[in-house]
Structures are given as structure tokens and as C-alpha cells.
Amino acid sequence: MNTVNFNVDGQDISAKKGMTVMEACEEHGITIPKLCQHEALENVMACRLCSVEVNGKQILPSCGLQVDDGLKIQTQTDHLKKYRRKILELIYRSENHYCMFCESDGDCELQDLMYEHEIDRFEFPRMYPEWPVDSSHDYIIKDSNRCIRCGRCVRACDEVVGNHTLSLGGRGINNRIIVDAGVPLGESTCTSCGMCLQVCPTGAIFSKLSMFKGVKKECDMTTTTCLSCSMGCGTNVYTKTGHIVEIEGADIHKESGGQLCEFGRFKPLANKGERIKNVILREDGEEKELSLSEGLEKASEMLVKSYRISAYASGDLTCEDLDAFAYAMRAHGALFDVVGAKRHRFETEVKRRINMIEGHFVTDIREIMKADNILLYDTSIYHTHPILASYIRRATSNGTKLITIDAYEDKFWNHSDKSITIESPKTQLTRLVNQVIKEGKASIEDLSRVSSILGGLRVHPKDVMEIVNLLEEATYDIIIIGDEIIDRWSLRHIFELAKLEGSYVISLNHAGNQYIKNLETEGVYEEPEVAYILAGDEEDQADMKELIEKADFSIVQSARRSELTEMADLVIPSLTMFEREGTTIDINGVKNKVERITEPKGGIRSEIGFFEELAKMR
């Protein structure tokens, strides 16, 4: 039998075996006060508020107690109420809680419980702790004077992010959150994912970017999908009178645990670039403002009279935007490309040549956490794909072996079992590994001989052997290819290795929307007459800049002013990530909805409409 029957406050309840009493109660609408428990995190039973009476004698925390047949639980005895009030008062009066000065006023689980328990007078004097407030971080403020030591932030950093930046240290009332070995947050190993502040029940860790913007409870909340990369994380965006107050991760129940990265949580709010309201035309050293329809005219004029047109789109757009842009550009005979598509084309070509089937690709990246081994080419994904990086870290905490190969420093240095730094990480090392696997077991001596014959191969035979052994031992290994590996040869050797060993592959594109796989792209003229660029909210626009430098005339469509728009001849307003709507395809190939969060505030209402017009004007 998988269900158990027990009794809560006189009510018979059945629940699935393995559930905690708290979970079962919540399922039946019985709420028990709590501060440390969080659905995305392990239960540590720290705050003791959820204590219930078990079988008329023991008092135990319901967040840790498993359901069992015949249990008799009381959740609201006079004793329990007294204990809870006492604990709440102890917490409230021992830390500096002055709600009216607190950023979390109104969004605080402690405050809610104080109201709920009608605590309006106090038995204990204040203690006035004086921990220094840490505001060294770009986005996060940590104020230990309001911290209730529930440890949610520590567990989030540990279990969800796999980063272990935060810990609890110090005994008794000196117990507090410690960052690394006691450094300020801004100088720590923090990856700025903000998971800690998302789970913090109080105002002890909060976002600088959301300060003074409003109470979340009074906001509208929309669930949408982040467009910043191909992970396609779900986000809950809180808005008040048309302004974004805060962004939180939405997928609490998925394995991501509701994680977001810096690009999803903070960057969109930190972007202070000036919005583009009108079309800007730079001609003969002068800057002119035009209306949108004049801009449309000018763009079509340039497109119609030119032969070599390069159209280049950001990857951080919806499928629909990309479609509309591609359609308009092709109507004008342009060559069309999207950031990251080049890598995809190489990959397709290589796969066809070596006859590699789709089955080799991981279809759900959470599989990373189940792998025996991970072989990671290019560790910069630590910064470019932070969520994926967190899965790798979490996997290594659970015993997965990690080998990293990078041309520079290993960004996973404190997680990898073996890190190989080799200037040309791709071809040679992998070629040799492949050869060894094909020829069967080789000795170190053999390898030394081979590598000296091959000449210029600065690979240590031991490294080769280690990779070979690791791959041969494992039953489930995953090869992850970062976005810096872009040349055909490297891709080919890595794919060959995967094929030889039956390893699974995750190949990471720089760009976001995986829809680009469906778009026929062909690569663009390097020195076009006209370059037309549709930018997204990305920070790194280097290849876009490179393209317009070589163009006779350049058109940039963008939501905000940037170095890129300053270089363009014609600037057309565009939408921000939160003004777009449509769909996006994530790394697992799943189509997610993108909701419009705020009404367009720039000089354009519908980009798709604009491109439809442009397509007609040839």
C-alpha cells in the first residue's frame, strides 16, 4: 500500500507514503506555520515553528516528520500556540526588525506570522545586534541584522545552485551567514544568480534593483520565459503600474528549483540604456530624427537599391520575430543569419559527414545530474550558461566525475576531478583520444611515442589515458561542448569521440533561441552594401559591430541606445525582452510562451507589423 491514513486535528486524512506531515496537511488545506521549510530545498527543521503534537505526547517538527498509519497529530493546541508565539517573539526581538524601514515590509514571512499570531506586545527587550551590512555586491544587499538563521539561502546556494558560497558559521548568537571564508559578497565566488534572495523569507537578503519599487504582494504577476539564452527558464515577473518590480524564477517544482541566472534576474532590470523613441538617420555627419514611417521608407529605399545585403538577427528574440524578420529580409534578397547559427551549420555538416544520429544528443539537460562522467570542453559556460553550470556543479557534489578541457583557466577548478589546460583544446587531444580508443588499450609509452611523432602535440599522455579510462569505465557519460568551440575540426573530433564511446552530447550555442535550428540560414556577405541588424537585449554585440563596420550603409533596429546604435547610419526603434510576445524554443526543444509584460514604451508598437510592411515594399 502506498497510502497511509492518519488523523490531524480530529480529521481523517490519507496521504502518500514518504510525504511529510506538513506536505500532507497543506494538501488538505491545513496550514502550519513555517519559516525554514521551502519546497525547493531539503528540510532541515531549523525554525521549530511547525512543531506539532504527535500521539498526545511528543512534540516534533511537521516538516521533518513522515506520515505514517495511525498517527494522531494536533497542530493547534494551547501549548503549541504558546511555543510558537514565544519562538516568534524571540526571533523578532533578538534581531533588528523595524518593519517600516525594511525593504521586505509587506513581503515578509516573519511579519506575516507575527500578525497571524497577534503578537502585539513583547516580553523581551531588544538585543540590537550590530552586524555590518554587506552591500559590496552589484545587485544584492545582505543584512545579517534581520537574518533569522533559517538557512534557506545556504541550502539554495548549496543544493540548487551547487555553488557553496554561503554557509552558516559561528556558535550561539554569533551564528550567522558567512560568505566563502568570510569575504564580502561582492568579492566572493557568488555567481549573482540571486537564488538566496528569492528564498529568503525576510528582508535579510534583498535586491538593490528592486528597492523602493513596491510590495510584491500588491503587484501583478505574469509567468513568462526568459529570452536571454536557450535554457528557457520560466520567470515570474512582478509589475506595478506598468513597471517591473522584481523577477523571480518560476520553475520551483522542476529540477532547476526556480533558479535564474544574473541574465534572467538582474540584468534586465539593470539595463539603464536610453530608450529609442524615434528613428535616427545619420547622414553627412548630421543626426536627424525621423518618424517611424519615414524610417520605413528609408530602410526600404536602401534595401531596394542594393544587391549585397546582409541581414543579421539576435538569438534573443521570439520565434515569431525571427520569422518576420527573415521573411522581410529574404523578400529583399538579403542573405540572412542569426547569432549562433554558424555553429549550428558546422555541426549539421559534421554530423552528416560522420553519420552521427540525433540519438546522441541529450534531450533533457537535467540528465547532467544523472551522468557518471562529464567531459566538458570549454569552461566558459560557467558564465555563459550559468544554469547549466549549476547542474554540473550539483552533479559533482553527488559524485559525478568531471573532466574539464580549456585553453585558459578552468572555471570549474574547485569542482573538477581533472582539469586539462591545453592551448588548442579541441583537435589534437581529442584526435589522440579517438585513436587510442580505436586501437584499443595503449600504454603510456606508446602514447609518448605517438605524441612525439605527431609533433607539436603538447598533450600529456597521462591526460589522454585518463580521458580514455574515464569514458571506458562509465556507463553514462555526457560530453558538453561550450560555445567557444566553433571550428569544424574540433567539432568533428569531439563528435567522433562521442560516437566511438556512445557518449551523449550537449552542444551549447552562444545564442538563445533554439528556433534558429529550424531557420534556413546561410551566412552573410562579409562586406555588404547594406547591413540590417535586429538586436536583442544582449550585452555582447561584438560580431554585430564587426559586420556594420564593413558595410557601406548600416541599419540597426534596437530598443535601447548602445555603442552599436551609435555606429549605425539608420537606427529604428525596437522592443525589449518584456515587450515582445510569442514563443521561444529552449535547449530541450520545448516551445515556451513569452508573454508581454509591459506595454511598448519605445517608438514602435509592433515589430512584426513593421517587417510585414517592409516585406511588401520591394
Binding site: 517538527p61 521533518g64 533578538s94
Partner: protein
Amino acid sequence: MVRKEILICSGTGCLSAGSEEIEERLMDELWKHELEDKYPLTRAIKRTGCMGPCNLGPMIIIRPEDTFYGNLKPADVERIVEEHLLKGRVVYDLLIEDIDGRRVEEFEKLDFIRGQKKVVMRDSGDIDPSSLEDYLKVDGYMAARKAIMDMERNEIVKEIKDSGLRGRGGAGFPTGLKWELAAKEISDQKYIVCNGDEGDPGAFMDRSVLEGDPHSIIEGMMIAGYAVGADQGYIYVRAEYPLAIRNLQKAIRDAESEGYLGENLFNQGFDFNVELRVGAGAFVCGEETALLSSIEGKQGRPKYRPPYPVQSGLWGKPTVINNVETFGNIAMIIKYGSEWFRDIGTEGSPGTKVFAVAGDVENTGLIEVAMGTTIREMINIAGGVADGKRFKAVQIGGPAGGVIPEQYLDTPIDYDSLKEAGTIMGSGGFIVLDEDTCMVDVAKFFLDFTQDESCGKCPPCRLGTKRMLDILDKITKGNGEAKDLDKLQDLAETIQATSFCGLGQASPNPVLSTLKFFRDEYETHVHDKKCPTGTCKALVEAYTINEETCVTCGRCIEVCPVDAISSGENTYVIDPEKCISCSECAKICPVDAISEGDEK
């Protein structure tokens, strides 16, 4: 001719009392008198573990006659060598005076020793703990040999179960049952862990066993390993015990090289290894789940049970964790049988218990007694209350325990009787308090310890104990209010009911038990703003000098740290504004002319 042996106690107490200097002087003297033939220098002087009566250190025993010399000063050594060793005459005035004033020659005849029953401390003070050879001479590893060669695994478990041995780490859980549970678990790997964290303030029982007889612990663990099917043991010792660590390291190394640890022990195909783990020394790390986490290299914080360590302990594998003293009993039970063990002690608590006796008694130190010995008898073994003062209470069980007042002096010491009397056995703290002790101050001392040692996880423990301490502090400073005693009671109840681990749950005990037995003393502090024993300085009134008795010797002026005393006409006068009631003057006055408060 019988070869003589000089045992010199090198337990931690004696080392700090200067035993090393005594040892050097002994060597010098032997050398000077060219005695090295009769007393080969490397063998005649044997450093032993703790002998027990720590306040008599430095101390030596000369064998075979068993003469005991204590409280030695370096200058005494010359006489001992010249008189005792050369001429064979006992140096009478260097013998220790026993309670009745008689000088006692033989160690075993000391009252302090006669009342004891040594099982766990059998070898400590008797053998050189750094010598495997010495251990083998006292039948060392014979019990392990018997267990592994002649006994079935379940026979061993049964023997331990039958012995009725209960865990000496505090909770008194039946050891045999724990082993049985672990033996039943099916797993590719099991572990044995020895808990040597010993965090109670003033406790040093485990330390002395580890220092004085390390092999006996290894042997106990090995037998446990064989019985439950574990091949790896860990001994967790706190870093503050460097001598224990050194002796254990040596013992493990020696046992390994002599084949008492390692593979295929006694040719029976049984492997057993022991590793030492040194802990950071937080009190809560002594709690078993916290200790296991700490061995795993994680933060030493208590974890939720179930699962219990016997099901899922170190790295998720079945683990038997026992206290040092618990393991210290094992070899003896295997050697002499459970019946023998049951004959010692009481029905519900067979065997002995080692106590670290401290406080206001004549002789402090380690005392091992059979369970069932009464508290009164214990105090007598320790020579009675010091300085002829009146007994007030005894604190048993350390920070988790409570006080026992005079009316319970005849309570037998066993798990159940102590519980009934309102305290716990604990790990063996035994602090005798005389009439001058303030009970509020005692409660404050223990609470200060626990609030400081709380790991900080649970608000009731982290903050509640701090609040209780603040209230006690307020009371001892003369600012107590009537409702404070209720507040204490209330907080105590919440902390007991809602804390996660034993540290928090038991932390209010010292306050509750002093409140229970000495409530009037609390009330005097609160209502009359007085500390009856004069301990709480803020509550003591200024001292005054009785004009009639004062002989104007002027000694009080010299000792007063705040210059509150000046000379008057026929007497001296204390300025009540300046007086801080330190009582220094009253102590020095040769005619007892100075007393607290207005003159009587």
C-alpha cells in the same frame, strides 16, 4: 633481587602540576647515585596515565612495595632516592595524609582508592600507555583474541546484551541492543565510531582513558567491529587533547605493526582498521549525528533521527557509535563474562561509572565506582566536603544535568535513581557545592556554557538560552523582578519542547533544578536584593568593621583594592560608597572584626 619500578603519573593533571620536572630529577638522582644498573633508566621509570587523585599530583608509586608519594616537590626527589631506594626506608613525612590524618603508605590503601571499583580505569596509572608490550602484559588483546577465535558473532552480541551494559556517553542506551541492530543491517560496509569528543565543562574521564589506556579502546572497538561486521573504525578526539592524540597515534601504529590491527586478524579472516579523527572541539559535535557529519568533513550540526546511525550513519552506512568509556568495558565483559559484570553495580545499571569529581571536596580527581554507590559514599571517597564546610548540593550530569540537595544524599548512583532525583547520569560530571555556593550563580555558569555552545540552528536554543542567561544576569545584579522567575520557567518549557537536539532540550535543566530545590534563594535575590552566600557581588552590602574587636593592625588597608578603608580613632573605617564588597579585608582580618552589612 626484585627489580624496582617507579611509576610516575603523566596524566594531564600531573603534567601541569610539574610531573616532568620530577621525572627529570629522578633520572638525575639515579644517575648521580650510579643506580642505573639496578634501575635501568629507560625502564625503571614508567610514565603512566592518570592515577586518579589528581589534586595530589605530581605523584609516584614505587613498586613492588606500592609506596605512594604525592604532592611532590622537586626537592623531595633527592630524599626519596637516598632514603627509599638506597636505604629501603619509607620517607614517612612525604606520605599522603588520609582523611583521618593517618599517613598512608600503599596506594591501594588510600581511602580515595579503596572505595573505588576499577573496571574501565583498570590499567590507567598502572601501565605505560605508549607501550603495547605493557598492555600485552596485562592480558591486552586477549579478549579480542577470545572473541574472534572462539566466539560466534551473535554470541558476542548476546554476551554484551546479557551484561546489561548501557552507553556511558550520557543517554544510557543499552549497548548490546545497539550492536544487535547494527549486526542485523545488511550492508557492504559498516563502521564503528568511538565518541571521544567529551565536551562537558570539567569532564576528563574519556580523556584519561584515551591517554592512559589507548589500546583498551582499540580492543573494544575491534570486538564491536567483529560482532557487527564492520572493518573500519574511527576514533573522534577533540583537538584540545594532544596527549590523547599522541598516545592513540602511537597505539594504532604499534597495533598495526604487531598485527593487532590490519588484515586477517588472529588468522580468522577478519580485517579491522582504526583511524583517528581530530575534532574542532565544539560541544555539540559530541552529539552522535553531528559527530558523524564532522567525520564526513561536513559542518558538525545535529541531524534528524530517524534514521539512526545504526541504520544510516557514516556516509549512509550502518554505524555503531559508542562512548570511550563504553568501549572501555567491552574487553572486560568478554574476558570475565556477563555474569561477572552483572555482579557489579545494580540490576538496572550494571557495572561501574567513572566520575570527574570536582568542586568543594578534599580530593578532586577521577573516581570509578560501582553503580549503586550512594552520593554520600562518593563524597566520602573524595574526602568529604573541603575545609569542614557544610554540604549544599551536588551537580551531576554537567550542563544537561541538575543539582541534588542534601535530602537526596543517599540516592544511589544509577541511571534510574538519578533520573528520579531530577538529574541525569550524563557523562560523569560530579561537582560538589558547599554552603558558600550561590545556586543562581551555578545555574548561570552552566547556562552560559550552553548558550555559547548552541550550534545556533534552533531559535529556542540559540535565543532562548541567551534570554534565560540575561534574566539570570539581571537577577544576580539586583535588578530581578517578580515575574522573572515565571519567565524563566516559561522559556525553559518552550526550549525543552521545541529544540532539535539534546543540547537544547536539556539546556534549561540546571536552571529548573536549582529553581526547584532552591527557589527561596532565587526569591531572596529577586525580592530582598540579597545573595545569601555573598557570591553575587552586586548584591553584597558594604563591609563594616566592628570597633570593639578591631586591633588596628592595618592589614585590611593593604588588601583593599579600591582604597575604601582609612584609619579612624580606635578603629579602621570602611567607606560604604567605595566598598565593592570583594571581601578581601574580611578574609585577611586576624580577629574577624570585619563582616558584611551593618555590624552585628
